[in-house]
C-alpha cells in the first residue's frame, strides 16, 4: 500500500511540473497552449535516447528540458502573431505532428512499439529508489515554485499579467508583448520537457500513445479546476486530477462489469463535463482570484 502511495505521489509531482508550466503560460500570461503534450513528448524521448547512449542522466535531463524549450521557440515566433484561438489550433497541430514524427521515424524512436528499456531513475539506490525520486521531485518542484512566486512579484511578472489583461496598454508603455510571450512559451515548454524526462525514466517505457492530446487537456482541467494563475491552484488541481484518474481505477475494481476501454471513455467524458461546467460556472477555478472572471 505504501509503495502504491509513493507511486501516486511521484505521478502527482511529475504532473505538477506540467501544471506549473501551463500556469506560467495560460494562468499568468494568457497563452492558450493546446500542445503541451508535444513538449512533454520531446522531453521524454530526448532524455531516454540520450541516456541510452551513455549520457549521464543529469545531463540528459537538462538537455531534454533545453530541447523542449528550443522546440517552442520557432512555434512562438510564427504563432504569436496570431489571435488566441489560432494559436491554440497551431499548438494542437504541433503536438499532433510531434506524435506523428515519433510514430513514423522508427529508426530513432522505434515507432509505435516505443522504447521499452528506458534507464530507470536512481538505480544505485536500489530499493529506496522511489523515495529518492520523491525527494528529488519535491526539491525540483519546490525550487520552481519559489522561482515562480518571485517571477509573479517581479516587474517581469507584472508585465506578463499585462500581456494577459491588456496587450495594447503594454505596447503603449513601450514593451513588446510578443517578446514576453516567447520567453514564457519557452520557459513553460522547458518545464514540460523536464516533466517528460522524469516521466520516461520513471515508467521506463514510452510509446507514442502516451502523448495524445488528452494528456494536454488533463493538465488544462487541473489548472482550470484548481485556479487559474495561482500556484496553489495548480497544486490543488493536480492532486484532484490524479485523484480522479486513480479513483476511476478503484471504481472499476468495485464494479467489475465495466471493462477497461469503457472506463477510458468514462474518464474522457468526465474531463469534458468538468471543463464545460467550470468554464461556465467557475472559470477562475476553486482557488482562483474571485474578483476576476
Amino acid at each position: 500500500m505504501s509503495a502504491y502511495l509513493v507511486t501516486i505521489f511521484i505521478i502527482v509531482l511529475i504532473y505538477l511540473l506540467l501544471s506549473l508550466g501551463l500556469t506560467i503560460q495560460y494562468g499568468l500570461t494568457g497563452l492558450v497552449n493546446f500542445g503541451l503534450v508535444g513538449f512533454f513528448a520531446i522531453g521524454a524521448y530526448a532524455s531516454a535516447l540520450l541516456a541510452m547512449n551513455g549520457i549521464p542522466m543529469v545531463v540528459s535531463f537538462l538537455l531534454a528540458s533545453v530541447l523542449a524549450g528550443l522546440a517552442a521557440w520557432p512555434i512562438g515566433l510564427v504563432a504569436l502573431r496570431l489571435r488566441d484561438d489560432y494559436f491554440a489550433i497551431v499548438t494542437l497541430g504541433f503536438s499532433e505532428t510531434i506524435r506523428l514524427v515519433i510514430v513514423n521515424e522508427s529508426w530513432l524512436t522505434n515507432g509505435v512499439r516505443g522504447i521499452t528499456d528506458v534507464p530507470a531513475l536512481f538505480q544505485g539506490a536500489a530499493s529506496s529508489a522511489p523515495l529518492v525520486t520523491v525527494g528529488v521531485l519535491l526539491i525540483v518542484n519546490a525550487a520552481i515554485i519559489v522561482v515562480l512566486q518571485r517571477i509573479v512579484k517581479s516587474p517581469f511578472g507584472r508585465a506578463l499579467e499585462a500581456v494577459r489583461d491588456d496587450e495594447i496598454a503594454l505596447t503603449a508603455l513601450g514593451k513588446s508583448p510578443s517578446r514576453f510571450k516567447i520567453e514564457v512559451l519557452v520557459l513553460g515548454s522547458a518545464l514540460a520537457g523536464l516533466a517528460g524526462a522524469f516521466y520516461g525514466h520513471y515508467v521506463t517505457y514510452i510509446v507514442p500513445d502516451q502523448f495524445v492530446p488528452l494528456t494536454t487537456f488533463y493538465i488544462w482541467m487541473a489548472v482550470i479546476i484548481g485556479g487559474v494563475g495561482r500556484v496553489s491552484g495548480a497544486i490543488f488541481g493536480t492532486v484532484l486530477l490524479i485523484g480522479l484518474l486513480e479513483g476511476s481505477r478503484f471504481l472499476r475494481d468495485l464494479i467489475p462489469a465495466i471493462p477497461d476501454t469503457e472506463m477510458a471513455s468514462v474518464r474522457i467524458g468526465a474531463v469534458g463535463l468538468l471543463l464545460i461546467l467550470f468554464m461556465i460556472y467557475r472559470p477562475q477555478g476553486l482557488l482562483g482570484d474571485f474578483t476576476k472572471r
Binding site: V32, A88, E96, L100, V101, E262, V266, G269, M279
Partner: protein, 287 residues
C-alpha cells in the same frame, strides 16, 4: 494516371473535410469562436446514421434521422453550453467546445464500445473510364454532399434567416439595431451546422469505419480547410476542403500515409503567416 486516380480518391476525402470545414467556418463567422467539438460532431452524426439504418433498415431513412437528431443536438448544445459562454473570451468558448467534444466522445464510447463498426452498404463494381475506376458509392456520396451544399447555400443566400445570419456575421451590433433577433439566428445556425456535420460524418463513416475517435482525427484537416478557405467564407471552406483532400492523397506516395495530418499543420501555419485571409476570405480578416 495513378495520380489522377489518387486525386479522385482525394475528392471523396475532401468532401468530408470540406463539409466539416463548412460547419467550422459558419460557427467561426457567426458565433465567432473556433468550435473544437466539430470533429466529435462528425462521429456523432455517423453513429446516428448507423443506428437509424439499423432501426429503419434503410440507409436513406438513417441519413434523415441522423440529420434531424444532429441538428437538434447542436441546438441543445448551443442552449446548454455556448449560449451561457456568449460574451466571454473566445478562449472560454474554445475550451468549452473542447469539453463538449470530449463529453460526446466519452458518451459514444460508453454506449457503442470501442470496436469499429461499418455501414452495411452494397458493393457495386466501379465505373471504368480507361484505367480510372470511379466507385458508384463515391458518386452517391458526392450527390448527397452536393444536396447538402445546395441546401446550405440556398438557406444562406435565398432565405430571410440566411440573410440575417450573414448580417450577424458581418456586424453583430448593426444587425441587432436593424431588429434581427440574435437568438433566432443562433438557433438557425446550429441546426444548419448540425445537419452539415451529420452529412460529413455519414460520408466519413461510409468511406472508412465508425469508431469513437474517427471524427477527432478529422478536426485538424477541417480547421486547416476552414483557414485555407478564409475564415467565414462558406464557399472557400468547401473548395479548400476538396483541395486539401486531393493534396493529402496525391502527397501520400511522397511523404507516406501517416504524415497526412502533418500536411494540415503545415497548411495552417503557412496560410496564417502568408495570407491570413485565406483563399476567399475578406481582406480585413482577423488573425
Amino acid at each position: 494516371m495513378y495520380y489522377i486516380q489518387l486525386a479522385l480518391n482525394g475528392l471523396s476525402q475532401g468532401l468530408v473535410v470540406g463539409l466539416a470545414a463548412l460547419g467550422i467556418t459558419l460557427v467561426f463567422g457567426i458565433a465567432r469562436f473556433a468550435n473544437a467539438s466539430a470533429g466529435d460532431g462528425l462521429t456523432f452524426g455517423a453513429y446516428l446514421a448507423l443506428v437509424g439504418q439499423r432501426i429503419t433498415d434503410s440507409l436513406l431513412l438513417g441519413v434523415g434521422f441522423s440529420i434531424i437528431v444532429s441538428a437538434l443536438a447542436n441546438v441543445l448544445s448551443y442552449k446548454l453550453v455556448f449560449k451561457k459562454l456568449a460574451g466571454r473570451s473566445s478562449v472560454a468558448l474554445l475550451v468549452g467546445s473542447i469539453g463538449l467534444g470530449f463529453l460526446v466522445r466519452g458518451a459514444l464510447g460508453v454506449v457503442f464500445g470501442h470496436q469499429q463498426e461499418v455501414f452495411n452498404v452494397q458493393l457495386v463494381a466501379p465505373y471504368r473510364i480507361g484505367e480510372l475506376a470511379i466507385s458508384i458509392l463515391d458518386l452517391q456520396m458526392a450527390s448527397v454532399a452536393a444536396l447538402a451544399l445546395a441546401a446550405t447555400f440556398g438557406t444562406l443566400y435565398f432565405t430571410s434567416i440566411g440573410r440575417q445570419m450573414r448580417a450577424v456575421a458581418d456586424n453583430l451590433e448593426l444587425a441587432r439595431v436593424c431588429g434581427i433577433h440574435p437568438e433566432r439566428v443562433m438557433i438557425a445556425l446550429w441546426s444548419l451546422v448540425g445537419a452539415v456535420t451529420a452529412v460529413a460524418g455519414l460520408i466519413l463513416g461510409i468511406k472508412t469505419v465508425v469508431s469513437p475517435e474517427a471524427g477527432w482525427e478529422m478536426l485538424l484537416p477541417a480547421f486547416a480547410a476552414a483557414i485555407l478557405g478564409g475564415i467565414g467564407s462558406p464557399v472557400g471552406a468547401v473548395l479548400a476542403g476538396l483541395l486539401l483532400g486531393v493534396a493529402q492523397e496525391v502527397s501520400t506516395p511522397f511523404v507516406g500515409f501517416s504524415y497526412k495530418i502533418a500536411l494540415s499543420f503545415v497548411v495552417i501555419l503557412f496560410v496564417l503567416l502568408v495570407r491570413p485571409s485565406g483563399l476567399l476570405g475578406r481582406i480585413e480578416g482577423v488573425r
